[in-house]
Amino acid sequence: MSKILIVDDEPHIRYLLELTLEELEDDGAELLFAENGAIALEIIRAEQPQLVLLDVMMPEMDGFTVCDTVKNELAMKDIYIVLLTAKGQELDRNKGEAAGADLYMTKPFNPDDVLELARKILNI
């Protein structure tokens, strides 16, 4: 089953992404949520989602660390990771690339783009 993990410490962003992607549930996708990096890693290990939408700015463990752990330490390179960052933090892009992120998206992201991307990655 296709799984998408949404990681953000802000509940309203998680909810927005849920609303954006929930039509995929009808096509058999499952949406998973995590409010911090540690929980995200736990879910990634257990559920192996195809796609992770990962906020960069989170307390304790940030998105770069999560991404780096997944891609390099756990060697789960097939998981497509999208780093989400606020407008104006484009400098972080290099850091994101170093951590092995597949894509970098700036907030406010266009919901249509997110949905299109998810469909492409999940092939549904």
């Binding site: 309203h12 909810y15 927005l16 609303l19 954006t20 407008k87 406010p108 992201f109 266009n110 919901p111 249509d112 783009d113």
Partner: protein, 459 residues
């Protein structure tokens, strides 16, 4: 389908826990069914479903039932209440999502402001963006035609406004055009200003395209379905159309600037040519031949543009050569020839003062260089000579040979062709000569004549 599904609601972790706790506390058999009577969840039900049923409803819509004894009523009420909360949350969320889409769109529009896009391209982009955020059946963009002082349909998928037609705004459009303020009208037939159209619409929004204080046009979107536009929609259309209007104005200014620059360049070239009327139209022919060669060589649009400017200005330096030398009939002595040669250097000096023309200096300065290195002013050879100059050299020589001069008649074309062939590889780049033989010489020749303001009679 009801706006909220009971099955999805029960998957929410918190609510699922609450329902389980409640069922335990009520300590009676309970079953939750969806609207199609499918069993979603049950507690302490042995075989048959309990007899009493309580409806779970949301704003009059039945979402399902809770079966059990009288106490089951509590669970049905709680589920109904949660469904209502979920609906509210969903509506707020949808609205936020829509706002998010708008913000993302505005960001991307601001980011991709084209510096010199064509008006059509800007309008196309505007319509594309509108489709993403507002629902409408037809859209029409009218632009003010300053020459004829009338609004012209620049883009439209509305059969009431065919593209290219000229329109005196009537009704609501007239109001907007004169007030400069956007309007939205729902239930259009009720509006006193409504005028019957071929294809009727139920609601419309019309806003001006304005940049600073100038009205440049109107945009009108309409819906045939009974759909009520909101003040939000009006605001959004206004924002997007204002952005587009500023871009259209920039595009117009850019085009005007470019036109006046080209006019200046051509005027400069013609002024110089007028000193020596016998060369009659030489510059224009050299330009046409050069461009034709450039196209055979598949130069890019940009390169062709630079080639054109180089060809137009190739003799600009002649302004510094005295009349006694420039207009002399008969052969030149060494000193006079030295003075004539200086025109390539003068050309460079003149163009050096115009930053927009720096990059054509090699094309102008080197048009008397020879492929074998025996030309002037620098004695460059082969690929050292700018390609524009190599092209102009062929075009310039060909035209000089085939036109009459005060001191000699021009050669017939055939002889000139022979001359080019003979000098390919010495005076000329052979690849350019080959390209020259692929062009339609007569077509270029006549193109130069029709473009001419003071064309001499074909001799």
């Amino acid at each position: 389908m009801p706006p909220v599904l009971l099955s999805k609601l029960l998957k929410k972790r918190q609510l699922a826990a609450l329902v389980a706790d409640l069922a335990a506390a009520l300590a009676c058999p309970l079953a939750i069914l969806d609207a199609e009577e499918n069993l979603l969840q049950s507690f302490a039900v042995s075989d048959a479903l309990p007899l009493k049923r309580f409806t779970v409803s949301l704003q009059g819509t039945q979402l399902g039932w809770v079966c059990g004894d009288d106490k089951a009523r509590v669970l049905a009420a709680i589920l109904g209440y949660h469904a209502e909360l979920e609906l509210e949350r969903r509506e707020l969320g949808a609205e936020t999502l829509h706002k998010y889409k708008e913000i993302a769109l505005l960001y991307s529009m601001a980011e991709h402001v084209p510096s010199c896009a064509e008006t059509e391209e800007i309008i196309e982009r505007l319509i594309e963006s509108l489709h993403q955020v507002i629902t409408f059946d037809t859209v029409t963009v009218l632009l003010f035609d300053h020459e004829n002082e009338i609004l012209k349909v620049s883009a439209s998928d509305d059969e009431n406004f065919p593209v290219g037609s000229k329109i005196m705004p009537t009704g609501i459009m007239e109001t907007v055009w004169h007030s400069g303020k956007g309007e939205l009208v729902n239930d259009l037939p009720q509006d006193p200003r409504f005028t019957e159209l071929k294809t009727p619409a139920y609601s419309l929004i019309c806003t001006p395209l304005r940049s600073k204080e100038t009205m440049t046009g109107l945009i009108r979107i309409s819906s045939r379905q009974t759909l009520d536009y909101t003040a939000e929609d009006l605001k959004l259309l206004t924002t997007l159309s204002t952005q587009a209007a500023v871009q259209v104005e920039n595009a117009t200014l850019y085009r005007q600037l470019k036109d006046s620059f080209y006019t200046m360049v051509y005027t400069l070239a013609e002024t110089i040519e007028m000193r020596d009327p016998y060369t009659g139209n030489h510059t224009k022919r050299v330009t046409e031949y050069s461009l034709a060669i450039g196209r055979v060589l598949k130069l890019s649009e940009y390169q062709l543009n630079r080639l054109e400017l180089s060809a137009v200005l190739h003799d600009v330096g002649k302004i510094g050569v005295p009349d006694t030398v420039l207009l002399k009939q008969g052969p030149l002595d060494d000193d006079e020839f030295h003075q004539i040669k200086q025109h390539t250097r003068y050309g460079e000096e003149i163009l050096h003062r115009i930053p927009q023309l720096y990059d054509i200096i090699p094309g102008v300065k080197s048009h008397h260089e020879r492929f074998d290195g025996r030309g002037y002013p620098e004695g460059l050879q082969g690929d050292e000579i700018d390609i524009k100059a190599r092209i102009i050299a062929v075009a310039d020589t060909f035209d000089a040979m085939t036109t009459d001069r005060p001191y000699r008649r021009g050669f017939p074309f055939e002889e000139a062709y022979e001359e080019l062939r003979k000098n390919a590889g010495t005076q000329f780049d052979p690849a350019i000569v080959d390209a020259f033989f692929e062009i339609d010489v007569m077509e270029a020749y006549f193109a130069a004549r029709t473009k001419s303001d003071y064309a001499t009679v074909l001799k």
